[in-house]
């Protein structure tokens, strides 16, 4: 559904008649105009934004996603920036300010009050360079997934959908990052795009032809490196070249060149087990680069490395890519690390889970190399955190397709009670409220570890999240300051009030005269909603919570759950121990 006048607008843009384009846009409703602008390449957005009058810009600003408004505002001089912000409707301006993370907000305030020196702004302005990431929708994608879907057959014949119908295309000269929580189906999507897994429905096209009809030139860098431990570094890199039927001397030269480019000269005759993790992944990267793939797929390539090694390798990877030393047209990166995605990617896809679907698809028009402390960078990081912590916050992007889905079974976040308590205490010590990415940054925690805890704390009503901030609730404060037995009571009350699975288990056990049920019963219920692995994780989490809250106990030998009766205190518990 195209807005009226879209064709005329595109004509005007293609002829470079910016004023005419602005005039056309001004006739539209501001919300629709903002949507139309979001669809055109970023440089054109910049030019348009620069030529449009301040009044019109001020009406548009609140209709863009706030991170995008922030970036567009900073493409204009500081005077215009002030003028535009000044002309915004007060309520819209407040909302915009409210959405910004602390650093970005602080900088904007400085700029508006004149405390921000123009010299510094000069430097900041170069952060934004549309030329680096060219979203050129007109260019033909290298590969394209059309309505791909994946379901797995359960042992009992039920189908569990792990990936909902998804459209996805990868363009040349772009680093695309696929971001999502663990278990969201990122790796499955990567395997569908590379042809390792057949989609249940839909098709993957490679240069317009079905993937399995051609021999696509692609390579994967694996999380576990997947090197052959009995081959030397050189032989490992040569292996795929031999598979392409390349003669020995040519193979040798290419492998040496690839090893040289990742800084592994001198290690040719080493075996992988003699190398550190970072070095092993370099071999994995060299093996992939030696093939000169059109798209380089990277499946959590830095996740198995320690923080410093990963940082170093990321930097070197970007140096190669920006220096055009990589014979690769495009990179597709699967990661659960928000900073990593924001640091490397030109385009980010955020995946939601159960079943996986693309929740957001947006570009980061920041110049490389990116400064992870700059305000513009933090605006994006903050935005992604918000997206991932607030499932209801579907971004208002034109490219996202909302689908009607059946309401899924509420999932228990995989967090341990100890972790929840620790997080609440930490937040309490910091004044009861903080930005999520601050916590992650300071604890050197990855979002994978952090999100389940936040989700759990929110579910139990010990904390609430609001636009990327976490705040401890009164109940949470009570929980954090209680002694151990009281904590257990508070935890039990909260879990029984909010966690569906625990409620179900407790109620079923209470119905039985002996207060015992086989675990198999609950496993069957969960199997209807989750994959086999997820069911196991749900059960593990439920056991953890139930045991901590003394709601029920579990005997692994008989695979049975027992209601934890309140009169089972002191002596009777000791008796139980002795029997076991």
């Amino acid at each position: 559904m195209k807005p009226p006048g879209a064709d005329k607008l595109h004509d005007a843009l293609s002829q470079g008649q910016w004023d005419q384009a602005v005039a056309l846009l001004q006739q539209l409703d501001p919300a629709i105009a903002a949507d139309v602008i979001m669809e055109i390449p970023f440089e054109e957005q910049q030019v348009l934004f620069r030529v449009m009058p301040d009044d019109f810009a001020a009406t548009l600003v609140s209709h863009f996603p706030y991170y995008h408004s922030y970036v567009l505002l900073h493409t204009r001089s500081i005077d215009h920036l002030r003028a535009i912000v000044d002309k915004m409707r007060p309520d819209e301006r407040l909302m915009f300010f409210d959405e910004l993370p602390e650093e970005a907000w602080q900088r904007l305030m400085d700029e508006l009050s004149g405390a921000y020196s123009p010299a510094a702004q000069e430097g900041a302005a170069t952060e934004l360079a549309g030329a680096i990431s060219k979203p050129i929708p007109a260019v033909e994608p290298i590969t394209e997934a059309v309505q791909v879907e994946k379901s797995f057959l359960q042992p009992d014949g039920r189908q569990i959908q792990v990936i909902a119908a998804t459209d996805l295309s990868l363009e040349p000269n772009t680093i695309t990052a696929l971001l999502g929580p663990s278990g969201s189906g990122k790796s499955t999507l990567l395997r569908i795009l590379t042809g390792l897994i057949q989609p249940t429905k839909g098709i993957v096209l490679w240069h317009g032809k079905p993937l399995h009809d051609c021999a696509p030139n692609l390579a994967i860098v694996f999380q576990s490196f997947a090197l052959f431990p009995w081959l030397t570094v050189l032989d490992n890199v040569e292996t795929p070249l031999l598979a392409r039927g390349m003669e020995h001397s040519q193979r040798h030269d290419r492998a040496l060149r690839a090893l040289h480019s990742v800084g592994l000269q001198g290690f040719e005759s080493a075996y992988p087990k003699e190398l550190s993790g970072g070095m092993k992944q370099r071999v994995g990267i060299a093996r992939a680069l030696a093939l000169e793939p059109e798209i380089l797929f990277m499946d959590e390539p830095f996740s198995a490395l320690d923080v410093l090694t990963a940082e170093n390798l990321r930097g070197e990877m970007m140096e190669l890519w920006l220096g055009k030393k990589i014979p690769t047209r495009s990179i597709f990166l699967v990661t659960h690390n928000i900073e990593e995605a924001a640091l490397l990617a030109d385009r980010i896809l955020v995946l939601g889970r159960n079943p996986a679907r693309i929740r957001a698809d947006f570009r980061i028009p920041l110049k490389q190399p990116r400064d992870r402390n700059s305000a513009a960078f933090l605006v994006y990081v903050d935005y992604i955190y918000k997206l991932m912590t607030q499932p209801e916050l579907e971004p208002a992007l034109p490219s996202t397709t909302a689908r009607a889905m059946k309401t899924p079974y509420p999932m228990l976040p995989h967090a341990r009670p100890g972790g929840i308590a620790g997080m609440i205490e930490l937040l309490n010590d910091r004044g009861g409220k903080d930005d999520l990415y601050h916590i992650a940054d300071e604890l050197l925690w990855e979002v994978n570890d952090l999100l389940p805890i936040i989700e759990a704390a929110t579910l139990l009503d010990f904390a609430r999240t609001d636009k990327g901030d976490v705040e401890v609730t009164d109940k949470g404060r009570e929980f954090a300051s209680a002694d151990i037995p009281t904590r257990k009571v508070l935890f039990r009350e909260a879990a029984l009030a909010h966690a569906t699975l625990l409620q179900q288990i407790r109620n079923s056990l209470a119905c039985k005269s002996d207060g015992a049920m086989p675990m198999e019963f609950f496993r069957d219920i969960l199997d209807e909603h989750f994959s086999e692995e997820e069911t196991q994780r749900q059960i593990d989490t439920a056991l953890n919570w139930g045991r901590y809250g003394e709601i029920f106990s579990y005997d692994s030998e008989s695979d049975k759950l027992f209601l934890h009766r309140l009169e089972h205190t002191g002596d009777s518990q000791r008796d139980l121990l002795h029997q076991g």
Binding site: A215, F222, F228, W230, A243, K273
Partner: protein, 582 residues
């Protein structure tokens, strides 16, 4: 000015010799060994195509022993390589073809539980019918018989290795489009190498164990004997010639030790590089022979002109063949048709065989059935009693040794040599002593079973005890646990997984060994006791196929049932509850 010749740099021209000569000297043993092997194979071939002589006179003078030893080793070697070929094909198909896997693996389980001697009549008949006029028939029969004793565990090992290749490694092979040839050599064989080597060692040890039964036996009215170490020992036992028994035993032990040093140790040391580990091992196995081969200049030279070009050419050939567009439609039409016919034929043949088998079993007399049932009961009790006896001495000793690293470093090699002596070869000596003190076959069979199986348990207990973490031992010390408590709370649970592994191997070995333990030709007489093994051996001797079939089915069924009902459950328990996590 031209650059000065290299010799003028102060080094005398003959300076090159000292580096060359020792290498030639080093290569000399390799060359001699090569020629000796060639001569030996010629001899064996000349004998193999010679006229039928299945009643060869076995000379008991020690001078004949080198020839016999060579013949036996050659038979075992040929059987081993045939086993390897079978293993690769069977394991590969079972691992990658889900449909085939469903019946290939249970079939393997059953085949594994059939004792060697039960294969004897069909194998021998088939081979002698194939080559009625040359020695080759009987020889091939003997070789296939040895094969049936060693192939199954190798196949299992290869299959489970293939199944456990990490998923990402498979994906790397697929995404980088490795041809099946390249996959085999760069991924599957290296990954399976270590398991395959250890199982090969066990298999060859098994071959030595059953050598006497395989080289000399009575089949109905035919008395077959093939020249070899096994038949030498058997003949010596029959004649009651103690001197010859000792000589034969000595040569056999010498051969086993020699093979260990010359073949297995270098291979184990070489296979270090196939360990699928991400960090370097602390103490790799060493082998002087491997060092000799590695220092040699001859072998790399030969490899450079033969193996390397061949490997390159083959690698490229298969890579290019894999890159060609596949001709799918033709295959699509052709294959299912052929498969359907083959499967149908297989089903018909199986049904026919099942009916005939049923008829044969139905014709068993009540006395025969009674004998089998009684034998099965007796052997069951005997095997379990042996396991208990073996456990009673190996668990305390194993724990004692395993807890003391220095002691176990000293005891382990000795125990390994003791374990490498095939119990069957010792059997005549044991019987001689038993007869002297008035014991009979009942005790004798237990002793043989014990001799054959106790080592599996001992080694596993030592390994288990040495794997118990020090901090747990210290906890026992800190809380002043008494000896009984220590055993209940730490040692027994700690060694449990290892103990179960040992018992599983020992139980399988004991059932299989009962056929040689319960029935023995000795000093011109046949000694036997009540047991399923004796029933099978006797049925083979007298050519009573009905009883042989029934007893074999009975034994296989019992072994499979005990494995499923007892050992597999205990193993499950061992790998969950009693697993010591680091």
């Amino acid at each position: 000015m031209p650059p000065p010749p290299k010799t003028s740099s102060g080094v005398p021209p003959w300076g090159v010799f000292p580096t060359e000569a020792p290498s030639l000297l080093r290569d000399l043993p390799i060359l001699i060994a090569g020629f000796a092997l060639f001569y030996g194979l010629l001899t064996f071939a000349r004998y193999g195509i010679g006229p039928v002589n299945t009643q060869a006179e076995i000379q008991l003078n020690p001078g004949a022993l080198p020839k016999y030893a060579f013949f036996s080793v050659t038979r075992i070697a040929i059987a081993y390589f045939l086993s390897l070929a079978f293993t690769l094909v069977y394991g590969y198909v079972a691992a990658y073809n889900a449909k085939a896997e469903r019946f290939m693996i249970p079939l393997l389980d059953i085949l594994q539980s059939i004792p060697v001697l039960s294969f004897l009549p069909p194998v021998m008949m088939a081979m002698i019918a194939l080559f009625p006029h040359s020695q080759l028939g009987a020889e091939l029969g003997c070789i296939v018989l040895i094969l049936t004793g060693q192939v199954w565990n190798m196949t299992f090992s290869f299959y489970s290795s293939l199944k456990s290749i990490p998923r990402e490694m498979h994906e790397a092979a697929e995404i980088y489009r490795l041809s099946w040839w390249q996959r085999l050599w760069q991924m599957e064989l290296p990954y399976a190498a270590i398991g395959l080597i250890w199982n090969s060692i066990m298999s060859v040890a098994g071959a030595w164990f059953f050598l006497m039964a395989c080289e000399m036996f009575v089949l109905g009215n035919r008395d077959l004997r093939l020249p070899g170490l096994g038949s030498y020992l058997q003949t010596a036992a029959n004649a009651g010639d103690t001197r010859a028994i000792v000589w034969g035993l000595g040569v056999m032990v010498a051969m086993i030790v020699l093979l260990d040093q010359v073949v297995w140790r270098p291979i184990i040391a070489w296979a270090e590089k196939f360990k699928f580990e991400q960090v370097e091992a602390a103490e790799p196995t060493s082998s002087p022979i491997l060092d000799l081969l590695r220092r040699s200049k001859l072998i790399p030279l030969v490899a450079r002109v033969t193996v390397q070009p061949a490997r390159e050419a083959l690698g490229l050939h298969f890579a290019r063949a894999a890159a060609l567009p596949r001709v799918r439609p033709r295959r699509g039409r052709f294959m299912p048709w052929v498969w359907r016919v083959l499967i149908l034929a297989g089903l018909v043949a199986t049904a026919y065989a099942a009916v005939r088998m049923g008829q044969m079993l139905a014709s068993l007399s009540a006395a025969e059935v009674g004998g089998i049932v009684r034998g099965a009961g007796a052997t069951f009790l005997r095997v379990e009693a042996t396991l208990v006896l073996a456990g009673l001495w190996t668990i305390p000793v194993g724990v004692f040794v395993g807890m003391r690293p220095r002691l176990s470093a000293f005891v382990q090699p000795l125990a390994q040599i003791a374990a490498s002596v095939p119990a069957t070869a010792l059997f005549p000596v044991v019987l001689l002593m038993l007869v002297r003190i008035g014991g009979g076959m009942g005790i004798g069979s237990m002793v043989l079973l014990l001799l054959g199986t106790q080592w599996y348990i001992l080694f596993n207990v030592i390994a288990g005890a040495s794997a118990i973490p020090t901090d747990l031992k210290e906890v026992c010390g800190v809380f002043r646990l008494g000896n009984v408590e220590r055993w209940r709370k730490l040692f027994l649970p700690g060694i449990f997984p290892y103990l179960i592994t040992g018992f599983i191997t020992a139980s399988g070995g004991a059932w299989n060994a009962s056929i040689v333990a319960e029935y023995f030709h000795f000093q011109g007489k046949t000694l036997s006791t009540v047991g399923l093994g004796a029933v099978i051996s006797h049925a083979t001797d007298t050519g009573n196929f009905r009883v042989l079939l029934a007893a074999t089915i009975c034994m296989a069924a019992m072994v499979v049932t005990i494995n499923r009902l007892v050992w597999r459950r205990l193993y499950g328990l061992a790998s969950t509850k009693f697993k010591l996590e680091a």
